[in-house]
């Protein structure tokens, strides 16, 4: 494999890994803090992508779609937590699984009613539609680099939020010890709502920014969801850092897997998970108890 192709695959791996990280970080925080297993998380990614399609049709550009779409996603997440998810906290995991599965069905059908079942494309913004040449024969789309860059910026902002703000401190405390946060009493409802809205916004943003590259189609959320579960299992529930490491690892395994073993690439990620499970059943970044 020559250097140019290798470089392209590395860039693809990073892009995929970062997108996964955005979606998975919300999932792991919701798990870790609220203790809720949310199967509908992939639907937020799908809804983000469809929102990008609809809004860029209305406003004439992806950029405006994102500017409008992200606040909409935050609002949606806030309201959804308030009217639905807040009732899930007291229920056992089995009920949460089925309730959020029901939610997936509802989201898919509402989407089908509103926008139909066709596959759609979203146009790359004209300013970013060019390609960078790599060596003599290959080139790499600028937009893909923009995706990665955007993800890096959002990830950085997330880490700053978590490590430098009071809100972030509460979130991190809650992710490692939910009971402690409960005993802090005040603002707990608000914290949960914020975390949930944040998770929804991250997933939706990932869907929006990736829409031009991956196209918009029914069921796109389900695929992402299950891979995100793998990210969370490998990285450890509640650990955003773990999610980053795991997502990038999966990005590389999947991308290079498609190159070398195209028939089995779908399986490789799960093999990675199996290996991690044998070694550390609680995830990479969790301390195993006695």
């Amino acid at each position: 494999m020559d250097l140019q192709i290798f470089l392209i695959q590395v860039l693809n791996s990073i892009q995929y890994g970062l997108l996964l990280f955005l979606v998975a970080s919300g999932l792991t925080l919701i798990f870790g803090i609220m203790g809720v297993i949310n199967l509908a998380h992939g639907s937020f990614y799908m809804l983000g992508a469809y929102a990008a399609f609809v809004l860029s049709g209305l406003t004439g550009g992806l950029l405006w779609a994102i500017v409008l779409g992200v606040p909409l996603a935050v609002l949606f997440g806030y309201v959804l937590e308030w009217i639905f998810f807040s009732f899930l906290y007291r229920r056992d995991h089995l009920q949460q699984v089925l309730l959020t599965y029901g939610l997936i069905l509802v989201f898919e059908e509402v989407r089908s009613l509103a926008v139909g079942d066709d596959v759609h494309g979203v146009a790359v913004p004209a300013a970013l539609a060019s390609s960078i040449p790599l060596g003599s024969a290959m080139s790499y789309p600028v937009y893909n680099l923009v995706i990665s860059a955007a993800c890096v910026i959002v990830a950085a902002l997330l880490f700053v939020l978590l490590r430098r703000t009071r809100l972030g401190m509460m979130i991190r405390a809650g992710a490692s010890n939910r009971e402690m946060v409960r005993s802090l009493g005040i603002e707990i409802d608000f914290l949960f709502r914020v975390v949930f809205a944040l998770g929804v916004a991250l997933a939706a943003f990932a869907g929006m920014i990736n829409a031009p590259a991956s196209s918009v189609y029914p069921g796109m959320g389900n695929q992402v969801l299950i891979i995100c579960f793998v990210v969370v299992v490998i990285g450890g529930i509640g650990s955003v850092t773990g999610a980053l490491i795991a997502a990038l690892a999966i990005g590389f395994v999947d991308t290079f897997g498609k190159v070398f073993l195209p028939d089995y690439s779908g399986v490789l990620v799960y093999l990675l998970m199996a290996v991690v499970l044998v070694w550390r059943p609680e995830g990479l970044l969790r301390e195993s108890s006695a």
Binding site: L98, L99, L113, V230, V233, I237, G266
Partner: protein
């Protein structure tokens, strides 16, 4: 109370046995399909309702057995022997359950749910992405398995009344087997694990081994159901292994009521009939389905067979509240 239940069962059994005489082909096939799903649901109830293992990947064992029917046949037009291909299919499912179980049972709680889902996705991808048995398109099965032993042909799976009675017999046998299992010391230990696994370990039970055994047995029974689902449907494709299938059967168990086996059967009937009803009402029946799922979980936490219990709880809470 204790006389009512055997009477209820006898009536239900008689009704099921009498069905082929009064109903048309459509209903005979539908009820046969429901009975197959009831076997599938009972196997999951063993895991979820009895042992407390919430598996979101049970369809993997169901679907693998379906594929084994195809893989056991030299080509699509030759009938295999029921007596060799069925044990083979069940053994394959049991083996897969043993291997996956050995890995996933190292995890607990939410992790366990996620890894069962992930591993069944892996199996799905093996059949979806590769060329095995037609890949994502699936394969047709043009001839039913042959039930003859030498020159004697006890029944013909191609005849839909024969098939129906065979499924009824299997449902009854599976039910009795699982009842016996639950009454045994092994079964009591499984219930103990669901109640308080930490205490079971402190008492000296090797809970990992018990869980693995339950997982494997459940996988084998799911394989039984999957094999006959393929026989009846005449077609296998990766969707039989999908997580929607896993969620579907989990819903049956919840809908009917966990832990008592009868609930799984009731749930299978209720869910398939509900799906039939919804899909006849509108193209967007999944919306109704989603609402239905949510309503069931919220309103009937103990399922249909536990409705009396839910009602009593609710009465006590509103009286004291």
């Amino acid at each position: 109370m204790s006389i009512a239940r055997p009477i209820l069962w006898s009536v239900a059994l008689l009704a099921l046995a009498a069905l082929p005489f009064v109903a048309g082909k459509f209903y005979i096939d539908l009820i046969a399909k429901i009975m197959i799903m009831a076997i599938f649901a009972m196997s999951l109830d063993l895991l979820v309702g009895v042992t407390g293992l919430v598996s979101l990947g049970h369809a993997a064992f169901f679907g693998l057995a379906s594929y084994m029917l195809v893989l056991a046949a030299p080509d699509q037009y030759t009938a295999v022997s029921l007596w060799t291909s069925l044990p083979l299919a069940m053994a394959a499912s049991a083996l897969l359950a043993l291997v996956i179980g050995a890995l996933v049972l190292r995890t607990r709680g939410v992790y366990f749910i996620m890894v069962t889902l992930a591993f069944s996705q892996m199996v799905y991808f093996v059949f979806h992405d590769t060329k095995i048995a037609g890949g994502s398109d699936g394969t047709y099965i043009y001839v039913k398995p042959n039930a003859s032993i030498g020159a004697w042909s006890p029944f013909n799976l191609g005849d839909n009344a024969h098939f129906y009675y065979a499924m009824l017999a299997l449902l009854a046998l599976t039910f009795l087997f699982l009842r016996m299992l639950l009454a045994s010391r092994f079964g009591r230990a499984l219930r103990g694990i669901k109640s308080n696994e930490q205490r079971m370990r402190a008492l000296g039970f090797n809970t990992y081994a018990y869980k693995l055994a339950a997982f494997t047995i459940a996988g084998a029974i799911a394989g039984l159901a999957g094999y006959f689902a393929a026989v009846q449907f005449g077609f296998v494709n990766p969707e039989m292994l999908s997580w929607h299938q896993s969620a579907n059967v989990l819903l049956m168990v919840i809908l009917g009521g966990m832990g008592n086996l009868v609930g799984a059967v009731v749930g299978a009937f209720a869910l398939v009939l509900a799906q039939d009803l919804f899909s006849s009402l509108t193209k967007h029946w999944l919306l109704l389905m989603g609402g239905f799922v949510i309503a069931v979980v919220v309103l009937l936490p103990n399922g249909l067979t536990g409705a009396g219990q839910t009602w009593r709880h609710w009465r006590e809470r509103t009286r004291s509240g």
